[in-house]
């Protein structure tokens, strides 16, 4: 038997499959504005890319590793501001600005994460929130650099990239779509890698992972930095699009929205948070048009989903598919003692 044909080897086309799905998704995203040329749709989708990356990257912490960060928007904002400030110097190209913003954010996250990941559960959540408030107040008070409350003004220049003029709305949209899909693909790869499965061990049972030779703190720090870097891409997409950066990017409500997106979408399917992003954004969009009390309406919808379904929408779909597949596929193996599921709620069944 050739090594490629071993049972484990048969699963390897995973990456090829993911790339194929990503390309299909990208083609769809690029085709959509052509089919419906209204600029509003493009704008809507660019916001979707930005917040989608925020939610997806947060889920690497929440869903994959079991680290509930309340301060993830800090890195979204850091990406936006570093990128905006660099571009405003007029001396860097967009690719260099992007790399520097992502790298800079990763560095900030490395320092903050080194402190945060040593704390457990609610303490971790609170300290991430505290650091976010710190970054928010730096942005608000350092007026000479950041513009303070007013945000980073004066516009963010968009010099041509590889001959592409990003001042053209369609080109800008296309570039954002490509970057978005690449980031999603990178996150998918990480979640399916040996590192990703190590994170699942940590999520399920960190003490046991430690007894199996896993350096839990180092692994948590690794994913913390990677998730921050991915969030920063979301931030800089938004900065590039709105041609500015605002302190609200780093406000706790932005992190809160990202958590809502994850709760609405669900954590069992890799793309669940994107479903949540789409949902929350659509709600936001329409509800703000029709009523002033949009906070009330949003809160109600979230309560209904969280309390009524007790899981995200994508999870509902996932569980339904599982239930349909189960009678055929599984069935306790002959001779096994009664297999009784333990645990319930979030831990029940398989999470991705």
């Amino acid at each position: 038997m050739r090594p490629g044909l071993s049972p484990a080897g048969l699963r390897r086309p995973g990456l090829a499959r993911d790339v194929a799905i990503a390309l299909t998704g990208l083609a769809l995203l690029l085709a959509l504005p052509m089919a419906f040329p209204a600029p509003a749709l493009r704008d809507f989708l660019i916001y979707f890319f930005a917040y989608g990356l925020l939610a997806m990257s947060l889920n690497l912490l929440v869903g994959l590793t079991g680290l509930v960060s309340f301060g993830h928007a800090a890195y979204f904002a850091t990406g936006a501001y570093v990128f905006g400030l660099l571009m405003q110097t007029g001396r860097v190209s967009i690719p260099v600005g992007v790399l520097a913003a992502v790298g800079g954010t990763a560095l900030v996250a490395l320092v903050i994460g080194a402190i945060c990941v040593r704390l457990k559960e609610i303490y971790f959540s609170f300290i991430t929130l505290a650091f976010q408030m710190f970054i928010h107040s730096v942005i608000v008070t350092w007026v000479s650099l950041t513009g303070g409350d007013q945000g980073l003004r004066g516009g963010i220049p968009r010099p041509p990239v590889l001959g592409l003029d990003l001042n053209d709305a369609r080109t800008l949209y296309g570039a954002c779509a490509v970057v978005f899909v690449l980031c999603i693909l990178a996150m998918r790869q990480v979640s399916q890698s040996p590192f990703g499965y190590t994170l699942r061990m940590i999520r399920d049972n960190p003490a046991r992972a430690n007894f199996l030779g896993v350096d839990v703190t180092a692994m948590k720090l690794g994913i913390f930095v990677f998730a921050a870097a991915m969030a920063s891409v979301g931030g800089l997409i938004l900065a590039l699009f709105v041609s500015g950066a605002y302190p609200e990017f780093a406000f706790w409500t932005t992190s809160g929205e990202a958590i809502f997106m994850i709760m609405l979408g669900g954590i069992k399917i890799f793309l669940g948070p994107l479903v949540g992003t789409l949902l929350l954004q659509t709600l936001n969009h329409f509800v703000t048009i029709y009523t002033e009390h949009h906070g009330l309406v949003l809160g109600t919808v979230i309560l209904v989903i969280v309390l009524g379904l007790r899981r995200g929408l994508a999870d509902v779909l996932f569980d339904w598919l599982q239930a349909r597949r189960a009678p055929r596929a599984a069935g306790p193996a002959p001779g096994s003692l009664e297999a009784e599921p333990i645990g319930d709620g979030a831990l029940k069944g398989r999470t991705v």
């Binding site: 484990a8 699963r11 061990m201 399920d204 030779g213 896993v214």
Partner: protein, 255 residues
């Protein structure tokens, strides 16, 4: 292989381990017995780096490992399974074992390859075959029967390719028949791998049948140690632990 010297540990007023000194030669199979609360699990916690002893030394392969973290202890080759199976509920048997093997092979940081890595997957398959878990390979750990959960817990420890394996009550919570099946597997494991193995067990019949050496703990101290025959005849043990009504003659017949 493993030697502890004058090990002591107190929790507040409770002296869980008192001046314990035991030598575990390479390749030996040793039982630790004692009534509930005797300090058996604490003893494992002390040697596996989970709890730091107040006093004493733990010599593993000749070096003192007191003060090392449980992570460093595992990496030196001492693994353990737990009294209450400690698993990864959302991973299947195969995934959990493969992930453990990956960790043992220092592959946990790899992000560019896909899980499962072929080499680690093969080792996981071997472990499943060894323990008879192969038919359950794709079952979620949370959905395994109690006995299979205990087996998987041992399997995870085996993924570390340990030189010393600590098993805390591998038969806990099992009926008589299942106990013997389980201990049969443990015994075969020891014969096949030649590891140095320590196990905690409450069932005297099992202990007398398979252990080479037995150490009896009571109130954290070693009450007696010796071969099954010596322990069986030890008056202190009979008085203090076995009770006079234990029908020793039967177990002699079985052994």
């Amino acid at each position: 292989m493993l030697r502890v010297e004058h090990l002591s540990k107190s929790f507040g007023g409770v002296r869980a381990t008192r001046d314990v000194s035991i030598d575990f030669p390479a390749g030996s199979l040793t039982a630790i017995i004692g009534p509930n609360g005797a300090g058996k699990t604490t003893f494992f916690n002390l040697i596996s780096g989970h709890v730091r002893p107040d006093e004493g030394r733990v010599l593993f392969d000749g070096t003192d490992i007191v003060g090392l973290s449980s992570l460093e202890v595992v990496r030196r080759g001492m693994a353990r399974a737990f009294q209450v199976a400690s698993l990864f509920p959302s991973l299947t048997v195969r995934e959990a074992l493969t992930a453990a093997v990956v960790s043992h092979q220092r592959g946990s940081r790899r992000v560019f390859s896909r899980f499962p890595v072929a080499a680690a997957g093969r080792r996981a398959d071997e472990i499943m075959d060894l323990l008879g878990l192969a038919p359950k390979a794709d079952v979620l750990s949370a959905n395994l029967s109690h006995g299979d959960q205990k087996l998987l817990d041992i399997g995870l420890a085996l993924a570390m390719d340990p030189k010393v394996l600590l098993l805390d009550e591998p038969t806990a919570g099992m009926g008589p028949e299942e106990r013997w099946r389980m201990i049969g597997k443990v015994h075969r494991l020891w014969e096949v791998t030649g590891m140095t193995m320590l196990f905690i067990e409450h069932d005297m019949d099992i202990v007398f049948k398979i252990a080479q050496t037995i150490h009896v703990l009571k109130y954290g101290a070693v009450l007696a140690q010796g071969s099954p025959d010596e322990i069986r005849r030890n008056q202190d043990v009979i008085d203090a632990y076995l009770g006079t009504d234990h029908r020793l003659s039967e177990t002699v017949g079985e052994a």
